[in-house]
Every structure is written in C-alpha cells, then in structure tokens.
C-alpha cells in the first residue's frame, strides 16, 4: 500500500482532490494546534527535569498525527487514548493542569472522560482498544451516529488484546476507528522486532478498512481520518489508520535513546518535522503574516507560563483520597482503614 500524503516535506501540496479543501484558515488552525501542543510538551519536559513532574512522555514529532486525526472527527465522537496523546487531548479542551496532574503524581488521571469525550490515559498497552470496541458496540445499539476513535502505538499492536479488539470489531461491525501512531519505536524496540508485516496489512487481514498515511503530514492525516470516519459513521464497519511518524524524543524522561538509535536517524526525521512542513506551506502560500506569527508566539509563551504555574500549584493530595472511589457503593473494609489511618496520623500530631 502506498503511503497517503498531501503535503511534501518541502511544503508543496500534492495534486489530490483532498487538497482542494485546504485553505489558509484550516492550515493556520492546525498549525496553531501543533505549535501549542509542542510548547506544552517541552514545558512539561523541562518541569520533569526540574523535579516538578515524576515522569513525562513527549509527543514531540507526533503532533500532526494527533492533531490531524482528532480534528477530523466530531467533538462528540468518543476517543480512547493511550498515554502520549497530549496534542489530541489539548484539541479536546483538556487543560494543562488536567494533563500534568497524573505525571506529577497527584492523581491517577486528569479529566472527565464524559465532558471531553476523551477517555483517561491507559498505561497498560492496548487495554483501551477493547474498551473502544465495547463503547462502539454501545453506540451502535443506541442507534446514534457517533463513532469511536482509539489511539495506540506500533508496539502495542503486538499485544493479544489489541488483536482481540481488531477481530472483535470486524466481527461485530463496530463503529470504531483504530488509529496507530507508528512512531518507529517502542521504547528501544524498533518495528522490525515488533511485527513481520506492516500493521495496515494485518488490519486488512482482519477485515478492517485500512489506510497507510504519512503521519507527519497533518493535512493527509486529517483527510484520511475524515474519509475513514465518515465510512465508519455510514455503517461500513470498522477501520484502521496506520500513521507513519517518529518519536523525536526519548520514550520518556527516564529513557536514554542514545543507547539504541543513531543521530543520523534523528537527523533524517528532523527534515520531516510536521510543524516545519506545514509552516513551509503557510509561507509558500503566504497564508501567514507577522501578526499571525507574533500572536501565536505570544499565545505559546502564555501557555508556557500557564503550564509552569499550574504544575507548581498542583497541590499534594490528601491521604484520604487514597481511600476514595475504591468501590462505587463503598466498602466497610476500606472505610475502616481510612478511619484507622486518620486516627493513626492524628496521633502523631498529638505528640
């Protein structure tokens, strides 16, 4: 399968029917999404380095895959993310505070999935794919025309649960769109050690409608996702998009990617940077001007300031939080432990 692309790395638009819908407004909006996401991402990285966050997993380099896809679906289409999908989350209105809380270690998750139609992050690889399929079964039963989109990585596709999800969705014809950000690496493991054939081919084998798209081309991702989403919405069955992208950072702030990949590889991907690419188009088409650049710079700076502020302001949780929400209907065992621990803690204060 050929990789679908609309925008070449040098910023020229290809001759493709989908290119006709590309205009200044769209490109500026997508550009803004990506630039802001990258700013949040780098601020969070710095905050981790300063000890303000326990861990951070960067989405650096994957902004186009995320922004292009989430901007192609409806706001009420439910999304089941993985854990690196900050750009997508931001497009859904999830705040910096909500995004950082989990990585600062003050909560296990940040936002209300119902409010944003965007699930909490899933750290156990591929588990969310089955949730997405189940949710989509519910959507179908309800007879509404939403669809479900779920993000996952190349590495996650090797899990049994991912494949159960592909097969299940194809079998029950669930309105779900699987979106793989193939960023070439799963921690230190390259895709060559992850699968023997490309994922989009596997997806076809399961009976999913599959597309391979240049994941660093936000316009192509958007167009491909739109196409897939509308087919799913029309009831044509589940689909999978494999977006070829690259994890420009380490796996996480705990990782040392120099141990397993070359600077040359990085250099190559730098030339394919999704933000640079769109900027070239903006410039080439003169869809940008000083005001736009200045405004966006200012907005990004303001976001940076905000990220630092909210992060540092995130309060340590009350120990009682640990005992909350174990069972929705409550448990005497847990109640007893909460009370005992409170009494025990109080005994120190008395001392």
């Amino acid at each position: 399968m050929e990789t679908y692309r609309l925008l070449d790395p040098d910023g020229t638009l290809r001759d493709d029917p989908a290119a006709e819908h590309v205009d200044a407004e769209l490109c500026r909006a997508l550009y803004r999404d990506m630039v802001l996401a990258r700013r949040l991402d780098s601020e969070a990285y710095n905050l981790q380095r300063q000890g303000e966050l326990g861990l951070w997993l960067q989405c650096l380099g994957q902004e186009a895959a995320q922004v292009g896809s989430i901007r192609a679906i409806r706001d009420d289409d439910q999304v089941f993310p993985s854990y690196r999908d900050h750009a997508a989350a931001m497009c859904r209105g999830i705040t910096a505070e909500a995004l950082l809380a989990q990585w600062r270690g003050v909560r296990q998750s940040g936002w209300d999935p119902a409010e944003h139609h965007f699930g909490i992050y899933t750290l156990v690889l591929a588990a969310q794919l089955l949730h997405a399929v189940g949710y989509a079964m519910g959507v179908a039963r309800d007879g509404t025309d939403e669809i479900v989109l779920t993000y996952f990585g190349d590495g996650s596709s090797s899990e049994g649960e991912a494949n159960e999800a592909f097969n299940w969705a194809a079998t029950v014809h669930a309105p779900v769109l699987f979106f793989c950000q193939n960023n070439q690496w799963a921690i230190s493991t390259p895709t060559s050690a992850q699968f023997g054939a490309p994922l989009h081919r596997r997806a076809e084998g399961f009976g999913l409608a599959a597309q391979l798209v240049d994941g660093n081309d936000v316009l192509a991702v958007r167009a491909a996702t739109q196409r897939a989403a509308e087919a799913v919405r029309r009831g044509e069955g589940p689909a999978l998009i494999e977006a070829t992208t690259y994890r420009m950072a380490g796996h996480s702030t705990s990782d040392d990617p120099t141990r397993y990949r070359s600077e040359a590889e990085l250099d190559h991907w730098r030339t394919l940077d999704p933000i640079d690419r769109l900027r070239r188009l903006l410039e080439r088409e003169q869809w940008t001007d000083e005001a736009f650049v200045a405004d966006l710079d200012a907005e990004a700076d303001a976001l940076g300031t905000e990220v630092r502020r909210v992060c540092r302001a995130l309060p340590d949780p009350d120990p009682a939080a640990m005992f909350a929400h174990v069972l929705p209907t409550g448990s005497p065992t847990v109640d007893h432990q909460r009370e005992a621990y409170a009494a025990y803690s109080a005994s120190f204060e008395e001392d």
Binding site: R107, L129, L130, G134
Partner: protein, 322 residues
Amino acid sequence: MPTTLSRAVNEALHHALATDPSVLVMGQDVGGLGGVFRVTDGLQKDFGPDRVIDTPIAEAGIVGTAIGLAMRGYRPVCEIQFDGFVYPAFNQITSQLAKIHARSGGRITVPVVVRIPVSGGIGAVEHHSESNEAYFAHTAGLRVVAAATPQDAHWMLRQAIASDDPVIFFEPKCRYWSRGEVAADADLPLDAARTVRPGSDLTLLTWGSMVETCLAAARAAEEEGHDLEVVDLRSLSPVDVDALTAAVARTGRAVVVHEAPTFGGLGGEIAATLAERCFDRLEAPVLRVGGFDVPYPAARLESHYRPDLDRVLDAVDRSLAY
C-alpha cells in the same frame, strides 16, 4: 416450588433483562445454546441476539468490551465459560475493571458482572474445576461474591446487576442442579454473611461449593452430640468480618473450609483475622480444611482432593479435642 440453582440464575438474568434495558448478557455460547450449563437458556429467544450476545472466543475481549459498554451506560453481565478460562481476562479484570473507578477519580463506573461457574465435583477435565476466588478477593476494587443456594444465586445476582460495583460472581457448578426455594424478596444485602445453621460448639466458615458439605458435617456431628454452627460467607470481598467475629467469639472454635488450594487461599485471610480478633476467645487454633497445594487432579482423584464431610469432621474433632 423448589427450583434449581441454575434456573434461579436464569430467572435473575431474565428479570434483569426484562426490567432494565441497559442490561446485556454476553459470553461464549450464551445465545442459541443457552450456555454450556444451560444457565442462559431461552434468554436470547426472549430478548434477541443484541441483548444476549454470543461473543468470539476471547475472554479479555469479553471483559474489555463489557467495560467499554459499561462506560457507554450499559450493564453487561458476562459469562466466563469455566473458572479455568478467566485467566486470559485477568489483565482486563485486575488493571481495568477493578481499578478504573479509582483511577478515574470516581468519574467512571463500570457496573459489570462477571459470572464464573466455579470449583469441581462434576468429574470434569483439567482447567474446568478451579477455585480461584482468592485472586479476585485480593484485588482491591472488585466486589466478589459466591452463591451457594438457589435463593442466593437468584437474589445476589439481581443485587449484583443492580449494583454499580464491578462484581465477580461465583456459581458453584456442582450445585447447579441442586434445588431450593427462592423467596419473593432478597432477605440479605449482597455483602452480608449468613448463618446457615446456628450452633454453639464450633463455627464452620465456608462458601460456595462447600456450604452443603459443611451442613452435612454439622448434621453428622449432631449425632455425636456436637452442635456446630455453619456460616456461609457469601461475600468474599469485602468480607462481613463483624458477623464472622461475633460468631467465633461466641463458639470459641472455628474451622474454615474451602475448595481452593489451602496455601494462600482466602481461608488464610479469614483464619488470620479471626485469630487476631478473637485472640482471647479462641479455645483452639482456627483450623483450615482446603484443597491440597497441587494443581487440581484428574477427575478420578477429585473426591480425594476436595474437602468432604470426613475431612471437615476430622478438623472439627481436632479443634474440639484441643
């Protein structure tokens, strides 16, 4: 009219499907076949294949999609075909089903019931006779219950389905064909233990497949002049600790009986708790009678493996003689 435990479950499912449109029944062969134990017999005929769903053979998929359906507002009741086949779903159960309410800060509730025909006694082949309740009871965030009678099977299942908690629901498969009355109402909440038989000399604490065995032991002991109490835990997590403690504080002697391997079984938890709480009241050590610490054996050996009346009485004698 006494009904079988299997039928009592069937009627609870029927009632839930009939009264709550968000209830779904899903699992392998639960539809046309009515399940390998016929527990779901007729449900697909009455409620259609969209509500009584034959799934692919993928246990993680069953629980995982049930979680997704629950997030969408449904109340799925999953069937795992046999106890030994729940392990492929263990990841979805422990990391997702049990934890997602807490992980989401209470924003997500997943009212999923996972029904598991459990334990041995039917001469089955390997992997079909596991007593694996301890894995789930040790997993914070799950409600774990075991029904021993038609009354409990029916009402506890209805309560489990109505509850917003994720519930692991154990049905002792060797009791599917046993009969008993099902009352017009529930007589106990889901998390209460039941004194099945009062007694003053010693308390037998048990659940699921072993309740009947303990009752038989109590009847036999009566002939020898011993008055044994039998308590059915019913709720395996959380455990009705107060009721258990009160009972043992009264009799001063306790034997915990379960079918699972003894080592690391839930009996250890119960015995440890009682030994702590009733330290000054105990006239003998809390004894345990359980399966041996070996993989469940071939069918022709299961009568040796499973605690029976004699092994229970042996422990009772040791306790009383202490």
